[in-house]
């Protein structure tokens, strides 16, 4: 093992862009002055405050523009989890008079599933539709769950693990026809593939800066004009009373810049990253036996390479890759705090062994052909070593 590579941070390879992304230098540059000089509170009645306020409002336009919304429909939050919690609790409570039934899916992020679980304890009726082997929802399943008391549908745009992109437009038509509010968790999607909330017919959309080469600690919830929502945090009048608390001004400025860059470069990035992805997928399939690509071959995020390696376990693969300076993720139970394998992998019907042997390589705009080549060099011997150690391996 080449420990030099591990030590040299410049040479470390980040194939874990689904967990977070490296900030774009231009984004950081844009933020800097709002830390150091223009540090005012946007609510304040002086130049420091005005500068901060203007910066927030200018960022709001850029963030809105990324998803085809108007600025007044964007509410800043602190993370994707907050956006999802605000959407679910906020919309459901605002709609309480109309009914108590919410439809979502089995492959949502925990920041959707866990609030729904809690809502269930509080008397809400929750239906989770299944997915097929590729992770795709059959929109008929949603239609079948609708009752008179259905007030909210929440379906994620693209799955953060297996990268499957749902058919939101079809779902929104169903929602509209039945007069149901439609929220989508776009944390894994916004900034990666084109999103237009108007064309998609969405009422609320969560997305986060750190997933699109922006800073951590800031995210947004799009709420369509005229849609009622109850706040979670109460306090000051920030964000029109829907999200109290002093604004994270530099974070918001960075989010704005990151959205602007993501929008401008979207097509180029998709082309570039998809090509890397396909090279990596093909390379692994050619070089390693007994592997399986999880997710969809057609409706797939550009950077998503989710592979199961038969006979071996994900955490040990990650550790060995890490010794080579390569960062990736896994849906193995051993890598989770709760020691449960990924609910997404269970939902697509992956066998427990294959779920244990899953690795997610998530690619981004900063990855290179050389990095993919290096992974393809390093990965086969690691798999070989671990398989030789495995009691269930049969050549």
């Amino acid at each position: 093992m080449n420990s030099k590579i591990k030590k040299d941070s410049k040479k470390r390879i980040f194939f874990d862009n689904a967990s977070t992304t490296r900030i774009d230098d231009q984004v950081f540059k844009e933020m800097e002055s709002y830390f150091r000089e223009n540090y005012g509170n946007p609510s304040s009645l002086h130049d420091f405050g005005e500068l901060a306020k203007n910066a927030v409002e200018s960022a709001r336009k850029k963030v809105a523009n990324l998803v085809g919304a108007s600025a007044e429909e964007i509410y800043f939050t602190s993370c994707g989890t907050e956006s999802n919690n605000l959407a679910l609790w906020g919309l459901a409570r605002a709609l309480k008079g109309k009914g108590n039934h919410v439809i979502s899916s089995v492959i949502e992020h925990h920041s959707v599933l866990n609030p729904l679980k809690e809502m269930k304890k509080n008397g809400w009726n929750i239906s989770l539709v299944p997915v097929d082997k590729c992770g795709l929802i059959n929109t008929k399943d949603i239609e079948n769950e609708i009752t008179d008391s259905t007030i909210l549908i929440s379906i994620m745009h693209a799955n953060n693990e297996i990268g499957t992109i749902q058919k939101l437009k079809e779902i929104s038509l169903i929602a509209k026809k039945n007069n149901i509010i439609f929220h989508s968790d776009g944390v894994a999607t916004a900034g990666i593939i084109p999103v237009n909330v108007r064309e998609l017919g969405i009422d609320a959309y969560s997305f986060s800066a750190q997933q699109l080469h922006g800073p951590k600690g800031v995210a947004a919830l799009f709420i369509k004009k005229g849609t009622g929502i109850r706040p979670i945090f109460l306090g000051g009048t920030q964000e029109k009373g829907r999200r109290a608390g002093t604004e994270n001004v530099p974070g918001i400025v960075g989010f704005g810049k990151a959205c602007e860059l993501a929008k401008i470069k979207m097509e180029d990035n998709i082309k570039y990253i998809s090509k890397l992805r396909d090279n990596l997928i093909n390379g692994i399939i050619n070089k390693v036996k007994d592997v399986k690509l999880n997710g969809s071959t057609t409706d797939r995020l550009p950077g998503n390479v989710h592979i199961s390696f038969k006979y071996i376990e994900g955490e040990s693969i990650l550790l060995m890759l890490n010794m080579e300076g390569i960062a990736a993720a896994s849906g193995s139970s051993c890598t989770s705090q709760a020691l449960k394998s990924s609910h997404v992998l269970n939902a697509i019907g992956l066998s427990p062994t294959m779920a244990q042997g899953s690795v997610l390589f998530s690619l981004g705009k900063y990855n290179t052909v050389e990095e993919v080549s290096r992974l393809l060099e390093v990965l086969p011997p690691i798999v070989k070593r671990l398989r030789e150690m495995s009691p269930i391996y049969k050549e």
Binding site: E313, E315, C334, P352, T353, Q356, E388, M389, P391
Partner: protein, 125 residues
């Protein structure tokens, strides 16, 4: 990030006694891939001592390091001594294990003991 000790990482990267023993005197298998980890221990016994030990393990870094450490700790020991090796001993020898990985050390000791019992059973027949 799982915070493994240096010792764990060292055993994980360079595990001792990996493999099978074709004509093993005893075999102990424990766990299964569904619950995350699976270990198989193979032993050769001579003069009531563990002359040789090999293992194969499917599992996380801790599971592999534990297997390696168990094999190292037991090799050359008498069966009685080996039966007295506990999961705590192993975790300690490894410089500790993260809380949510402590179950791996149970598996390691259990698999070894199972192999010894397999040998004793066979001998008893």
């Amino acid at each position: 990030m799982v915070a493994y000790s240096k010792k764990v990482m060292e055993h994980f990267m360079n595990p001792r006694n990996v493999g099978e023993i074709k004509d093993a005197d005893g075999i102990g298998e424990i766990g299964n891939p569904v619950c995350g980890d699976m270990m198989s221990f193979y032993i050769k016994v001579k003069d009531n001592k563990l002359e040789d030990i090999k293992f194969k393990t499917f599992g996380c870094g801790a599971a592999i390091a534990v297997s390696s450490m168990v094999s190292e700790a037991a090799k050359g020991k008498t069966l009685d001594e080996a039966l007295r090796i506990t999961n705590k001993d192993i975790a300690k020898k490894l410089g500790g294990l993260p809380k949510n990985k402590l179950h791996c050390s149970n598996l390691g000791a259990d698999a070894l003991h199972k192999a010894i019992k397999d040998y004793l059973d066979k001998k008893g027949k």
